[in-house]
Amino acid sequence: MDKKKKDLNTIQFFYITEIIRGLYITSVHFFKNLALHILHLFGIAKNKKAMVTYQYPEEKREITRRARTRHRIMKREDGTPRCVACMMCETVCPARCIYIVAKEVENPEVEKAPEIFEIDLGRCIYCGYCVEACPEDAIRMDTFILDTASYDRDSMLLTLEDLLNHDNQDDLYNINYMKK
């Protein structure tokens, strides 16, 4: 049940001391930050930050390694996509944003590969189920690209090419996996 609120003592009841206390706190922040900003203008004390915010497009926050970011498709050593078009990710995707058309390949160990592999980022909810579902570890979400801003939906569609030509070349895990 609701606890009885603590009664204010006489000084607090008159509120003015409390106002002054509050003003003191905010003013200390104000003058400290103002002084730091002015010092920064002259290039002094740069290591002390005057704000806790990030100036987003220019200054990006660090993303943890575990964060789910834009997808990529891993390659085999010969450069072909590691995906075998098993449709697992397409089936599991709750947003139904993956579209795969399979084709046959010569290599009898692989048999299938995607002809078309599209992810519609406009619908993707970044749940990561596709990564979990993939038996080949072909799809991963670790490109650290988070901003998907665009003026139309069509440009949010990632094709197989986009997915293969990612920036993240960190295939360390890939190599270990192959050795096993």
């Binding site: 003015i16 905010t26 922040h29 104000f30 806790v52």
Partner: protein, 358 residues
């Protein structure tokens, strides 16, 4: 003719100062709140890549206001709806007429008072204009044909009426001390020294009245902690159906009222244009130092001092606005009628007693 020109010059000077300060305050409010909250504030508007620490946001904002659609609700009262923001803005600006921003300017053998109109009932005029501001709020609420607007207008009218009373009564003390309703006389009466060293400013003579007036003044500006009529973020107030520059006028009125309240605080409680120990011939410190200054320099110093004080109180009001949370409505009304009103009357009685004794 020769009497009209100086007045026109004074009007232009005062209004350009006040209005540019009001525009500047929109920027200052954003930056000040940002610094208080460890943010950096609006800084994106740029002209040719030059950002000027966000100052261009003033231009960007006003452009945006002018270019937006001017919307009048279909079943609203079109005339009152259009008229309301003008009443608000006019009543707020009209107060500048009687505010003295300096002593006198002597050019040759001519003496100009640095005040647009030195009326002997200036205080009454000022209070009258401030109460007329209620009509702007109330018409805005009632003409919108929107129940939230109407409720906001009612809240606004009730709040402003209540605090109007406190505002008037808290100033009675200063009027009793100076014996005049003219703001110029009130400022001149503070140009003395108490006990030989303390400037006889209202804050030292009437500390209680200062707090009461500051509270009532902040309530008049309808900003947090007294922003119940507006409540931009959730409860929505009287200007819910306003868009475009009509909304802009209400918005600007708020900032003009901040300046008006600061100017009144300066005039009544901080000696207006007075600088301690400064007389027409220069500084005369009680501990014996003297700095001789020519009268024109003294006049300029006084005008600068006035604007500095006004600016300082704008800063204080913004700081309070960004520090305190909003009152509940019953607390708001309870504070006025149960605490502030008795205190204000008590202050008048005490002042009378002191005047009788000394």
């Amino acid at each position: 003719m020769s009497e009209v020109i100086p007045i026109i010059i004074k009007i232009l000077f005062v209004f350009s100062c006040f209005l540019s300060l009001a525009a500047f305050l929109t920027w200052m409010e954003r930056k000040q709140s940002a610094l208080m909250q460890d943010r950096i504030g609006a800084n994106r508007a740029d002209i040719l890549g030059f950002r000027a620490i966000g100052l261009f946001h003033i231009i960007a904002d006003s452009l945006k206001m002018f270019l937006k659609e001017d919307f009048v609700p279909r079943r609203g009262h079109k005339f009152l709806h259009t008229f309301a923001p003008f009443i608000s803005a006019f009543c707020a600006m009209a107060v500048f007429l009687v505010i003295p921003f300096g002593d006198v300017l002597k050019i040759g053998d001519k003496v100009y008072k640095l005040q647009i109109a030195d009326i002997n009932v200036a205080l009454l005029l000022l209070l009258a204009f401030m109460s007329y501001g209620i009509y702007g709020v109330f018409f805005a609420g009632i003409s919108s044909h929107n129940k939230y607007g109407l409720l906001g207008g009612l809240r606004g009218a009730a709040q402003m009426l209540s605090y109007e009373v406190i505002m008037g009564i808290s100033l009675v003390g200063m009027v009793m001390i100076s014996g005049s309703l003219s703001l110029r006389e009130i400022v001149l009466s503070q140009n003395k020294l108490l006990f030989g060293f303390l400037p006889a400013w209202g804050i030292f003579l009437q500390p209680l009245a200062f707090i009461l007036f500051l509270t009532a003044g902040m309530a008049e500006t309808k900003r947090t902690p007294f922003d119940l009529p507006e409540g931009e973020s959730e409860i929505i107030g009287y200007f819910i159906e306003y868009s475009s520059m009509k909304f802009g006028l209400f918005f600007l009125t708020d900032f003009i009222e901040v300046i008006v309240v600061s100017a009144l605080l300066t005039v009544f409680f901080f000696g207006g244009w007075n600088i301690p120990y400064l007389t027409q011939s220069g500084f005369h410190f009680p501990w014996g130092w003297e700095i001789a200054l020519s009268p024109i320099v003294v006049t300029i110093l006084q005008v600068v001092a006035f604007w500095f004080k006004v600016f300082f109180f704008c800063w204080v009001q913004l700081a309070i606005r960004w520090t305190l949370p909003r009152f509940r409505y019953d607390q708001l009304m309870g504070t006025t009628w149960k605490m502030l009103l008795p205190l204000a009357i008590f202050n008048v009685l005490i002042t009378g007693l002191f005047i009788l004794i000394f």
